[in-house]
Symmetry: C2
Subunit: 305 residues, 2 copies
């Protein structure tokens, strides 16, 4: 071993074996893919630096291991606690930003993205334009909202025909339908397909803030960090259109509590919207105009979005 020699050679005082991390990185074999090799080296370096910089103690490390194991044990088809742990540390929002490479406040670009979150469901009902996604049986107390807008090509400004606007949001009690036995199947979900003019419209509710599940490891971390589990009121969207790059995003109510301190750090300025009082429609108290701008796959590649 040359640890001490090295410590002398580079003129620094090494409290710990300065060759250890490189030895672990070098253990990766020749058949690992270049990407795996890169990610492993970087992860090992950061993990070790984290441990050294903070002089991580055995019991602190073991608490982290137990937290991770507990997160896995709590996860199932309906709940992803590992994802939730990442979310409260901002990692999903950051990876979303990295993947889409969009400035958070760009106005001359395609609609900004936001995290998918754990409550998306495939095969939401296909509904006619102008339909209401609110089940009549419940949600009497919610604020009915008329949402409408146009889906356009961000570069040409032309309307996009055949764009599918897939929408989902929580009930006034803060629960998505699959979390809540009292809500009908697929309540507050719908898919709307644009015609030639690219417009869409439907009735929904003005959403409310709600807590992410905090009865597990993520809740434990939030408590230790003296943080709340609340998300500001938002509506989720997944937009797809033939020839266009899909957009996963959320829009946020400017007047909502927690708009400045979302527990999962998903808010971007360009995704903040205004619900305005709506006159003349007995079915809606509020109006919410919002346009989506999509990038063709070609443009997305060209502009790196």
């Amino acid at each position: 071993m040359t640890s001490k020699d090295t410590a002398v050679e580079d003129g620094k005082q090494h409290r710990y074996d300065p060759n250890f991390t490189q030895a672990v990185i070098n253990a990766t074999g020749p058949k690992a893919t270049p990407r795996v090799r890169q990610l492993a080296a970087s992860l090992i370096q950061h993990l070790h630096d984290f441990a050294r910089e903070n002089e991580l103690a055995v019991d602190e490390w073991m608490q982290g291991v137990e937290l991770m194991n507990a997160a896995g044990q709590m996860s199932n088809d309906k709940r992803n606690e590992g994802q939730l742990l990442c979310d409260i540390l901002g990692l999903e929002s950051l990876v979303d930003e990295i993947t889409y490479r969009l400035a958070s406040d760009a106005t001359d670009e395609p609609t900004a993205t936001a995290i998918l979150g754990p409550f998306y469901r495939h095969n939401a009902p296909q509904r006619d334009m102008g339909a209401c996604i609110v089940s009549d049986e419940i949600n009497k107390q919610g604020d009915r909202t008329w949402m409408h807008g146009i889906v356009t090509d961000f570069r040409t400004g032309e309307p996009i025909e055949g764009a599918v606007v897939d929408v989902w949001h929580t009930a006034p009690n803060g629960l998505y339908e699959q979390q809540d036995p009292d809500q009908p199947e697929m309540n507050l979900r719908g898919r709307f397909t644009t015609g030639k003019d690219g417009t869409y419209n439907f009735y929904c509710l003005r959403p409310v803030p709600y807590p992410i599940p905090y009865d597990g490891p993520a809740g434990k971390v939030l408590k230790a960090l003296d943080r709340h589990p609340m998300r500001p009121a938002h509506i989720h969207f997944l937009l797809t259109a033939p020839g266009y790059k899909p957009i996963v995003t959320q829009i946020f109510d400017r007047k909502s509590k927690y708009i400045e301190n979302d527990a999962v750090f998903a808010v971007k300025d360009s995704l903040i919207v205004d619900f305005t009082p709506f006159k003349g429609d007995p079915n809606a108290e509020f109006e919410l105009p919002y346009d989506f701008k999509m990038a063709s796959f070609e443009d997305a590649k060209k502009h790196g979005v």
Copy 2:
């Protein structure tokens, strides 16, 4: 948001929102303990740096989440897959080094430490000095070994009375007794208490290399990294004595395969030992002399060991 202003102000091109990580760190509330605040800030910074430096994609991140969740789901009282994942990335060995602050090759210091590993059991049988920890019913094929030595105070060199040498190792098939239904309860485990002269001695086997469990997420990672799951032959020890800092360690057979590339990076030079042919004892083919040096709590504190 001032992300663009900041990017201009500090004269750098920021590909991603330069304020994001600090915003996540700043979310920690006033009631978090100073240590939690420090660890959270450092963890968030390293996680985000890892994501940015490698331009981590959504599907790569999600694969990591699923791996962590699977590790938790595989863990139980007998198996800790989260710990195993840390071990193959060298984290347990590093935390061990940090906690004990020992140079890896020091000779004038207390016995170096090594990781506890997942196979320790409380309440191994208390045995008389000179006893054999090998069950007669099995392990006929192993190499019987006479291990002996003295437990001393590292500073004064005086023998320590009442030191408990708690030992455990694998059977010739590479399995610890709790992994193997064919081994009797507590096979290859024992606790020996020193008398006034500080010496200890017992019969054991010369251990063999074995693989860490590789049928789960840790095995998946090893495969992706093109690495083997093998550990060099070793014997585990936990030493305790009244008034002395406990020592968790392992000693490694110099002639063992994998001594240069332990899958969990636990080998230290000062813990490598020689099994020598032993003449004149019909019960043992090999002899293994090894002395342990312990630090009193007072010395441990004074010398930072």
